[in-house]
């Protein structure tokens, strides 16, 4: 496979007990790209994202990451996941650990960082997401928007090549969506590769370098934000955008 793609997906399919959620997905992602994955509910967006880091096992096709076929080559998925962060809709912070420990547990246990190194990195990340004062707090004392910013910091602490965002703002109160999107915008500028399943059309239009529209287990339309959002002749995309915009 050509080396310029950090992720390449070929003819990916996924069945849940006979229900074909993903029929055939092809996608190429270059290093540093921000890919927004949009589309109606039930179109397979989240399943697709979860197949990439193997939280779901695809039933057919290939997923190449850094040139390695995740489905067919002999790989250590735990090592791969270290380079592929994920941010969840429900945050999934570890409630029994402080914010600091949430962020440092991965680097310390998996990357062999010392407590001091991990803490310094944690401080830097907390500064970046604007929550330096929450270092010693527990997740329960944070608002949804703050939790999600910490979840982003936690993913970044592993210094991943790619971050997968699974509807990162869908569980948030409207007034907290902005702060999370801002962090993601800042992140996009750093050149990290991002795949974002989202219902935030503004974010997709403004920040994404590529937008893919999923419908019924296929990618129905793909292109730059301008190509997808403006003067799109694709009927399904038009119908969807009319509903959400």
């Amino acid at each position: 496979m050509p080396e310029e793609y950090i992720i390449e997906v070929k003819d990916l399919g996924k069945n849940f007990d006979g229900l074909e959620v993903l029929k055939s997905i092809d996608l190429q992602v270059k290093k540093g790209e921000v890919v927004a994955i949009i589309g109606p509910s039930g179109s397979g967006k989240s399943t697709f994202l979860r197949c990439i880091n193997q939280l779901e096992t695809a039933t057919k096709g290939d997923i190449y990451f850094d040139g390695v076929d995740l489905l067919k080559d002999k790989i250590d998925i735990n090592k791969i996941r270290q380079k592929m962060g994920m941010v969840f809709q429900q945050f999934n912070l570890f409630p029994h650990l402080t914010i600091e420990k949430n962020i440092t547990i991965g680097p310390m246990k998996l990357l062999g960082k010392s407590a001091a190194e991990a803490e310094a990195e944690c401080d830097r990340l907390l500064e970046m997401v604007g929550l330096a004062d929450k270092k010693h707090a527990y997740p329960s004392s944070l608002s949804g928007g703050q939790k999600q910013r910490i979840a982003i910091a936690r993913a970044l602490a592993m210094n991943p090549e790619v971050i997968l965002f699974d509807e990162p703002t869908s569980a948030l109160d409207p007034e907290m969506v902005g702060e999370v999107l801002q962090v993601m915008k800042d992140l996009a500028k750093t050149g990290i590769t991002m795949l974002v399943v989202t219902h935030e059309m503004g974010f997709a239009r403004e920040v994404a370098s590529k937008v893919i529209f999923m419908d019924n287990g296929y990618i129905a339309c793909e292109g730059t934000p301008t190509e997808v959002f403006e003067n799109n002749e694709n009927e399904r995309v038009k119908a969807f955008l009319q509903k959400v915009l």
Binding site: N53, L55, N78, K79, R81, Q82, M84, G85, M86, F88, Q90, N92, L93, F94, P95, H96, I105, G106, K109, L110, Y138, P139, S140, S141, A151, R154, A155, M158
Partner: protein, 233 residues
């Protein structure tokens, strides 16, 4: 009045025997709860294992132990171990024969492990799957996710249930008296025989059991309240 003075007489005369026996009952119960917490957790991991053989072994064990009387299990250990050629060391421990103590302990552990297993399994399964997914997405393998993320949360949630299991064990340990271990119940019967009183020792022992369980339950309730406060949803 005559009854009360008789009660006082039995208590003053045999109080130290009851004290020694209470110590034995508490040691037996505490030992049981500590060991069965560890073994019960292991059996719980076996039971939720994806390996069919391992999980079947755990399931059969739990079903069998929970489906048979503790009294039968106590007898089976006491008479079964020597038949298997296993000799438990005999020396005096807290005023009782250690081989009987350890027989009783083994039987109670075998029994309690099955119940603790179900408590732990329930605790693990009550933790949201998102916690495991988040841990796995960072790069932790299954065992690390369990060790660092799921189990600590589960354990905190099940502490009150483990405390209640402790309370049950204190009461159920009275059945170990049938193998001649001088814990509270056995001692009660001894006192009834040597003091020629049938009822007074029962009053005393019931009060001792009640104090033990009441103190423990109160402690557990306090713990629960404290945890509810710090519970970080």
């Amino acid at each position: 009045m005559a009854f009360l003075s008789s009660l006082a007489h039995v208590f003053t005369k045999y109080g130290s025997m009851f004290g020694q026996a209470a110590l034995l009952t508490v040691s037996l119960s505490l030992g049981t709860v500590l060991i069965s917490t560890i073994l019960g957790s292991l059996v719980a991991f076996m039971k939720i294992s994806k390996n069919k053989l391992i999980s079947s072994i755990a399931s059969v064990y739990v079903a069998f132990i929970r489906g048979t009387p503790l009294l039968v299990q106590i007898y089976m250990v006491f008479y079964g171990l020597p038949m298997l050629g296993i000799k438990l060391p005999t020396f005096t421990f807290l005023g009782a024969d250690f081989s009987r103590f350890s027989s009783g302990l083994i039987a109670l552990v075998i029994n309690s492990t099955a119940y603790v297993c179900e408590i732990v399994r329930g605790g693990i399964q009550s933790i949201d799957i998102g916690q495991t997914e988040a841990a796995r997405s960072i790069g932790f393998n299954k065992a690390q996710s369990m060790l660092y993320i799921v189990f600590p949360q589960a354990f905190k949630n099940i502490l009150p249930s483990l405390g209640n299991e402790f309370v049950s064990i204190i009461k159920e340990s009275s059945q170990v008296s049938v193998i001649g271990l001088a814990e509270l119940m056995y001692t009660t019967n001894t006192v009834r025989a040597i003091s020629f009183t049938s009822f007074e020792p029962l009053i005393i022992v019931s009060l001792i059991y009640f104090i033990l369980t009441f103190v423990l339950s109160t402690f557990i309730k306090k713990l629960e309240t404290k945890m509810a406060k710090s519970n970080r949803a």
